[in-house]
Symmetry: none
DNA sequence: CGGAGTGGAGAC
DNA sequence: GTCTCCACTCCG
C-alpha cells in the first residue's frame, strides 16, 4: 500500500498523520494528507481540523500538508491586493492592530517591494539565552535536571548552556521542514561574525557525524530500556 | 417506501430507473439511483452500466444520476489546458477527429473567450424540417401513419408538419432536465424574429393548459386500452 | 448506509 | 499555473 503514518510534530500528542498517494484518475500521483485524532476520527482538511481542536490550539502557523509549524504562514496574508486589505500592520506581534497607511508612490511599486525577500518575522540569533536562569521544577520545587548531551554534540555561540543547546535543537526539530543538521560554517568563522555566518534555520551545534557504531549503541540502549519496562510491569501484575 | 421507478429517456427502451432516499445515518436524505436492465439485473453505478451495455451504446454524455443525456458533458473537456490537449475539434458530432489548430492570438485571450457563454453545440432552430419527406415504413413498405395531435397542441414555426412537431416534443422530452412547457412568447412575436424569441430548449408548440377534464379523459382512454389488452390476452390463452 | 478515493470549483 | 477542500461516486 502507498500509505505512511507518523507522529505529528506540530500537533498535540496522540495525533497521527497519514499520506496517501492517488493511484488513478486525472490526479494520479498526487498525495492526500489525513490526520487521525486521538479518538480515531479522520480529518481531511485544515478547516475540519480547526473545528475539532477548537480554540484550544492555535493553527494559524500550522501547515496541514507537512504537519509542521511554518512561521512563513504570514507570507500568505501579505500577498493580498493592498488596496482591498484593511489598514492593518502586517507584522505578527501586534497583528490586527489598526494603523494608518500612507501611500505616496504607485501601488504597484509598493506591492513589488513587499514581495521581495524573506517575509518571516525576524528571529533573534541567540533567543535561547533569554531563557537562561529559568528552570522547570517538580512538585517539591526542586529543579528538574537537564539531559546530558553526548560529547560530539558541540554548541556554537557565546556562553551557551546545555539547556540552551537543547532548546535550540528542540525548536529546529519542531519548526524545520528541511533536515536538522547543525551549523555548516566552521567554528572560528562563526565566532568572528555570527550575524553573517550563522544559519538561523539550524540549531547552534556543529554538524556531526553519526556512525554506525552510534546507531548500534542507541539500539542497545532502547532494548535495555524496554527490558526494564517489561520487568517493571511484571512486578506490578 | 421512498422509491420511484420510471422509464429512462437517455437509455434504450426497457431500462428502468429507480430512486431511493436514504432514511438514516450521516447521509440521510441523499438519494441512490439504480437501473434495472430489460432482463432484470440491478445496476448501481455508471461503470457497471457501461460493462453491461458494452460498445453498443455511447455513455459518455449520459448522466447516471439524472438518467439523461447531458450535452454539456463536453464542457469538462474544454477546461483542460489547451497546450496539453491533442488537436481535436471540440464539437460533438465529429468528436475525436484530429484537426489542425491554428493559434494567432495570445492564448489567454482564447481561453477567456472559451469561458464565456453556453458551451453546448449550436443547435439549428428548426432542425426538424430537415427530416421532412422522410417516413418510417412497415415491412410491406407502406408509410407508417403518424399520430394525430390534440387540437390544443399548436405548432409554432414555418410550415411545420405534425411529424415535425412530434419530433420537436420528443427531443425535448429526451434532452431536457427542466420541465417541457413549450414556447413562452406569443405567436406573432415569435414569427417576427424567431432567432431572437424562440427558446431553443423548448419544443415548437405554444404553451397550453392541461385541464382536470383533459386528465380525466386520458385516464379513461388508458383504462379502455387496458381492458382491451386484457380481452385480447384472454382470447390468446 | 459508510467511507476510501477521486473530481473539480474556487482560492491563491 | 497549483493547491485546498469538500461533494460525490461506487462498491463493500
Amino acid at each position: 500500500m502507498d500509505k505512511r503514518k507518523s507522529d505529528v510534530s506540530g500537533l498535540p500528542t496522540g495525533w497521527i498523520r497519514e499520506e496517501v498517494v492517488r493511484k488513478s484518475g486525472l490526479s494520479a500521483g498526487k498525495t492526500d494528507v489525513y490526520y487521525y485524532s486521538p479518538d480515531g476520527r479522520k480529518i481531511r482538511s485544515k478547516p475540519m481540523l480547526a473545528r475539532i481542536l477548537g480554540d484550544s490550539f492555535d493553527l494559524s502557523a500550522f501547515d496541514f500538508r507537512s504537519g509542521r509549524i511554518i512561521s512563513s504562514a504570514l507570507r500568505k496574508r501579505m500577498r493580498h491586493d493592498s488596496s482591498l486589505v484593511l489598514p492593518i500592520r502586517q507584522t505578527a506581534s501586534i497583528f490586527k492592530q489598526p494603523v494608518t497607511v500612507i501611500r505616496n508612490r504607485p501601488e504597484s511599486k509598493t506591492k513589488t517591494d513587499i514581495k521581495h525577500g524573506n517575509q518571516d518575522q525576524p528571529k533573534q540569533l541567540f533567543w535561547e539565552k533569554r531563557l537562561q536562569g529559568l528552570h522547570a521544577r517538580d512538585v517539591m520545587e526542586d529543579v528538574i535536571q537537564s539531559l546530558e548531551l553526548p560529547r560530539n554534540v558541540q554548541g556554537i555561540g557565546p556562553d551557551l548552556t546545555t539547556e540552551n543547546i537543547l532548546q535550540s535543537i528542540s525548536a529546529a526539530l519542531h519548526l524545520n521542514s528541511t533536515p536538522v543538521l547543525g551549523q555548516n560554517a566552521n567554528k572560528s568563522t562563526l565566532q568572528k561574525n555570527p550575524g553573517v555566518h550563522i544559519d538561523a534555520n539550524q540549531p547552534h551545534i556543529q554538524q556531526l557525524m553519526v556512525s554506525d557504531e552510534d546507531i548500534r549503541r542507541q539500539e542497545l540502549r532502547v532494548q535495555e530500556a524496554r527490558r526494564r519496562l517489561q520487568e517493571a510491569m511484571k512486578q506490578a501484575a
